[in-house]
């Protein structure tokens, strides 16, 4: 979706304000909501792409207006309801009012060390890769109304395939519960002026991690 989360290249947000000696969490509840997300994903209630999509669907003024972990809280609440793990009356009451649907497993304290190891997203390839390192490709001009990981600033632009990462879970389908549909994943590098115009800094280049359905062969003249 062409949402407010897709911030790359926008102007007007001001300078970067780095906090010296920043604590890991600014309030205890931030850690709780982060941990709940980890535990619910471990349990199989939803996946990482669903978490992202839940945030992207927040109203733009909310997305920009609340803190990072407030956004996670709002996304957790909506995911609980959407994924059949609870209802809004229960969240309002602060207690379970009925049993939830069974989930695959529960993260225990003893399993946390193992549960925090980042899982793999690579899957068996359904077919050969369409592109190879060195190929010139164009990011498609697509505007899916649901979750995608192709940022707007890259769409329509021509770059070079640098790396092939194997076949990975496709976020566009995983986010909307349509399965993993594994796709080849590439690092594609764009020259700065290709993205930002001939007056932009020629020493800059930007890469994205692009799934094969986001790409098409570059036209011959490019």
């Amino acid at each position: 979706m062409d949402g407010i989360h897709d911030l790359g290249g926008m102007d007007g947000f001001g300078r970067i304000d780095a906090e010296p000696d920043e604590p890991v969490f600014h309030a205890a509840w931030e850690g709780r909501v982060m941990a709940m997300q980890r535990a619910m994903m471990y349990a199989g209630a939803w996946n990482i792409d669903m978490l992202r999509y839940a945030q992207e669907r927040l109203p733009p003024r909310v997305y920009l207006g609340v803190s990072y972990y407030e956004r996670w809280t709002l996304a957790t609440e909506s995911s609980v309801v959407e994924r059949g793990c609870g209802d809004s009356d229960e969240l309002a009451a602060g207690h379970a009012l009925r049993p939830g649907r069974p989930l695959a497993r529960t993260l225990t304290a003893a399993a946390v060390a193992e549960g925090l190891i980042r899982g793999g997203f690579e899957r068996a390839a359904p077919g050969p890769a369409r592109f190879a390192p060195g190929d010139r490709v164009r990011a498609k001009n697509i505007h899916p109304p649901t979750h995608t990981r192709l940022p707007r600033y890259a769409r329509g632009h021509v770059g070079t395939v640098e790396r092939l990462h194997g076949c990975h879970v496709f976020p566009d389908t995983a986010a909307i519960d349509r399965g993993e549909d594994p796709q080849w994943l590439y690092t594609v590098r764009f020259d700065g002026p290709e993205l930002w115009g001939p007056d932009s800094d020629p020493t800059v280049s930007v890469s994205i991690e692009a799934f094969e359905p986001y790409l098409e062969p570059a036209p011959d003249h490019s």
Binding site: L7, R32, T106, L116, I117, R118, V204
Partner: protein, 209 residues
């Protein structure tokens, strides 16, 4: 963290914020349904507060500085190479290490959300997840560096890595001059979090002398 100071005890007499109440309601519902175990949540929070952080990535960088074979292996397959070290937290899949050189500076961003190499650096700082950084890093990386007080020679190329998939990136900053003969432990103290994101450089040895 102290036992449940986030929750049912220790906050009597102080007014609970709206967010505290909201998150407590969420945790209670999920716990009563058997989906989450509060003790597991405690352990997750504790891990990110005390065990997993930029000191892990700093060790990896310091090793790369002293051991060319390790550096080659790291740049080739960082998940595999970091697996050979004894780290507090094993690196997950699809970690990619990219090295700065006198002619190339790397910077990592996630324009779409907040993807970050948690296994190597812990949880990201607020600025990394903020609209100013996410919007500008891909378009004006030199301006971003200026906000961090870093000025590179105009001829140094800047490569920005937008973490749009599950690959995760860590920058291997350049080893500062004047550190010849230093051991890994001393070198690791020069490796800042920001230098591994690409918004900073490794510390000057004089800064830690």
């Amino acid at each position: 963290m102290a036992e449940h100071d986030h929750d049912h005890s220790g906050e009597h007499g102080s007014e609970l914020s709206a967010m505290q109440l909201r998150v407590r309601a969420l945790e209670t519902v999920l716990t009563e349904k058997g989906y989450v175990d509060p003790a597991a949540l405690d352990a997750i929070v504790e891990a990110y507060e005390t065990k997993v952080g930029p000191h892990i990535g700093a060790r990896v960088v310091a090793r790369a500085w002293v051991d060319p074979d390790f550096k080659r292996a790291l740049l080739d397959d960082a998940s595999k190479a970091t697996g050979t070290l004894t780290l507090a937290n094993p690196a997950g899949d699809h970690l990619v290490a990219v090295a700065n050189t006198p002619t190339l500076h790397n910077m990592v961003v996630c324009t779409l959300c907040s993807c970050y190499p948690w296994d190597m650096l812990g949880l990201p700082p607020v600025w990394y997840k903020s609209a100013p950084y996410r919007s500008r890093a891909v378009k004006d990386p030199r301006g971003v560096l200026a906000d961090f007080g870093v000025a590179l020679p105009p001829s140094t190329a800047i490569r920005v890595w937008d973490s749009t998939a599950e690959t995760r990136f860590i920058v291997v900053p350049m080893r500062p001059p004047g550190t010849e003969g230093w051991n890994e432990e001393r070198l690791a103290a020069l490796v800042t979090r920001d230098s591994m994101i690409g918004t900073g450089l490794a510390k000057n040895p004089a800064a830690v002398a």
